[in-house]
């Protein structure tokens, strides 16, 4: 009864089945050619202005100052033997780690406080709190520079008014280090806040309700619900911020330009001073390249977390 409806090879040659390579195949091939053409500008940007400069930097860093002779890893060993450069490594780590910790903490607190607000007021507060991130740091740092001014410091005016002795914000090494970190925290904490806030909003309310019914206190909710749910975003944001902070340039360059006595130099500003200002391109390249292994490690971790998060979100 079924067979009546199925036409069995009616007047068909026996070999109908050979796989046909026809128009559809050509369309598929044309499609991947088209896809390749569409990504070509992207490839050009990445290849020509990121990958090529990277290898070029490696090459440059192995030349002598006049760029006439190949010197191998001499630039790197020379840098490592210099006390100034050792200090730059230490200062960069200090700068990045302490700034990121402060940003992460402030961001976390602010995100929580904002999240607890009624939805109506939240927008307004959030709007004000993100302002430091919106102003270009090269511009906002000028205001800080002016507030730290040795003779006209408006902050010192406040300190003196309340009876605290004025501070040489940018003049004394430890205060100068504190200042650049402070400005970086000021600039970067809102970013953490906004990332955490987005993560907080993605935690379903039912989880908190279930936890409340299970008898969790506010602190326990934070510990057993919020933090585990946000773990990945926290990790991504911290790693990302470590990269950006570690490689910072604007703030230190404007505020102290590495001074006093090179005590606030970090990789970026030191590379600029050595490579561009003093004209020792190879040595400057070498300074920059010292960042690479550290950044690469961070980047691998970010990538791992991002892929994991993608999997969680799709699977």
């Amino acid at each position: 009864m079924a067979d009546g409806n199925v036409v069995m090879a009616r007047g068909m040659p026996a070999a109908v089945a050979p796989p046909q390579k026809g128009t559809l195949h050509r369309i598929a091939r044309r499609r991947s050619t088209l896809a390749f053409l569409m990504t070509l500008p992207l490839l050009a940007v990445i290849g020509g202005l990121v990958a090529y400069p990277f290898f070029y930097a490696l090459y440059l860093s192995m030349l002598n100052k006049r760029m006439t002779r190949f010197v191998g890893i001499d630039n790197f060993t020379f840098l490592l033997s210099r006390e100034t450069f050792q200090a730059v490594i230490w200062q960069s780590v200090l700068f990045a780690v302490s700034a990121v910790i402060a940003k992460a903490l402030i961001g976390f607190i602010l995100a929580h406080v904002l999240h607890a607000l009624p939805a109506k007021g939240q927008r307004k507060w959030r709007g004000m709190l993100l302002v430091p991130w919106v102003i270009p740091p090269a511009v906002s740092t000028l205001a800080w520079w002016w507030m730290f001014d040795p003779s006209y410091s408006a902050i010192n005016w406040v300190l003196t008014t309340v009876g605290v002795p004025p501070v040489a914000w940018l003049g004394e090494p430890s205060w100068a280090r504190f200042s650049v970190i402070l400005v970086n925290v000021w600039y970067g904490a809102p970013f953490f806040m906004i990332m955490y806030l987005a993560a907080l909003k993605s935690v379903p309310d039912q989880l908190y309700e279930a936890a409340a019914i299970d008898g969790a206190t506010g602190w326990q909710k934070l510990r057993y619900v919020t933090v585990p749910m946000m773990k990945n975003i926290i990790a991504i944001t911290v790693l990302f911020s470590l990269i950006v902070t570690f490689a910072n340039f604007d703030i230190v360059r404007i505020l102290t330009n590495g001074g006093p006595q090179d005590k606030t130099h970090i990789f970026g500003t030191y590379a600029f001073q050595v490579g561009i200002q003093s004209g020792d391109i190879p040595l400057g390249s070498a300074v920059s390249l010292f960042m690479f292994p550290i950044l690469a490690v961070f980047a691998i971790f970010v990538l791992r977390d991002v892929t994991r998060r993608n999997k969680e979100m799709t699977g």
Partner: protein, 300 residues
Amino acid sequence: MSGASVTRGAVAPPTYYKVGSIKRERRWALIGAYAALAVFVVFFLTPPFYMLVTSLKSSGEIADLSGNPWIVSSPTLENYRELLTQGNYVTHFLNSVIVTLAVVAITMVISIFAAFALSRMRFWGSTMLATGVFLTYLVPETLLFIPLFQIIGGLGLYNNLLAMILIYPTLTVPFTTWIMIGYFASIPKELDEAALIDGANHFQMLWKIFIPVALPGILAAMIFAFTVSWAQFLYPMAFLVSSEQMVLTVGIVSDLIRGDTFQWGKIMAGALMAAAPPLLVYAFLMDYYIAGLTAGATKG
């Protein structure tokens, strides 16, 4: 219902907290929250506020150490007037606008095409390229500015605005591509198939379906590209030397600081005007601005 209330009345629950304190607790928490917010809002908004205050002062008032620096006794717009009528400030502003507009346009064209291809047309190496895009986003500008300095010099673009237009996309394209891949990937596959059956070719599909549907994402990506280009400091610092070629971020400092004479009133006025475009974009398109910022976390 009544059964439940009877049980509740009969068996007193163990009280770990004072019954009836929920309301009070919540009120204190809210007061604490507002106090914390107030402290941080003051901390966060002090520099822009002080910028504004200083920009309204005459140089005489700035130099006067006897008064309270946080208030203006005789406000004046002289600093703004001078900036806009004398010197190169207007040129710097226009340069910033030119570079930013060009970079945003280039960035969007590159990243929309690339994201469309990467999210919809699987081809050899496409997943690797997507990962590569993300890694490129993590490359900071301080890593490669010295070889780029040499490359720009080699191309004869040293001290040329064009160099900025050429190089900035390395900072914007990876992230915007990444955002756009996320937005395009969230468009259901059936939409392409419906368009395919309706008779659209790939460009029509991109132009008539993908771009309109992903418009919020495109806006977020554009805002991101805009803020990055507008704020870039290191590249113009390294590659631009003459004042006519400079953009705002470097122009303010280079023109208004002569030796150790700081024209603070004008510097602050210039800084505030330089901060205005991103602040305005942020104020009017806050949701897209934030979507662009957090896209990395929520989409990738």
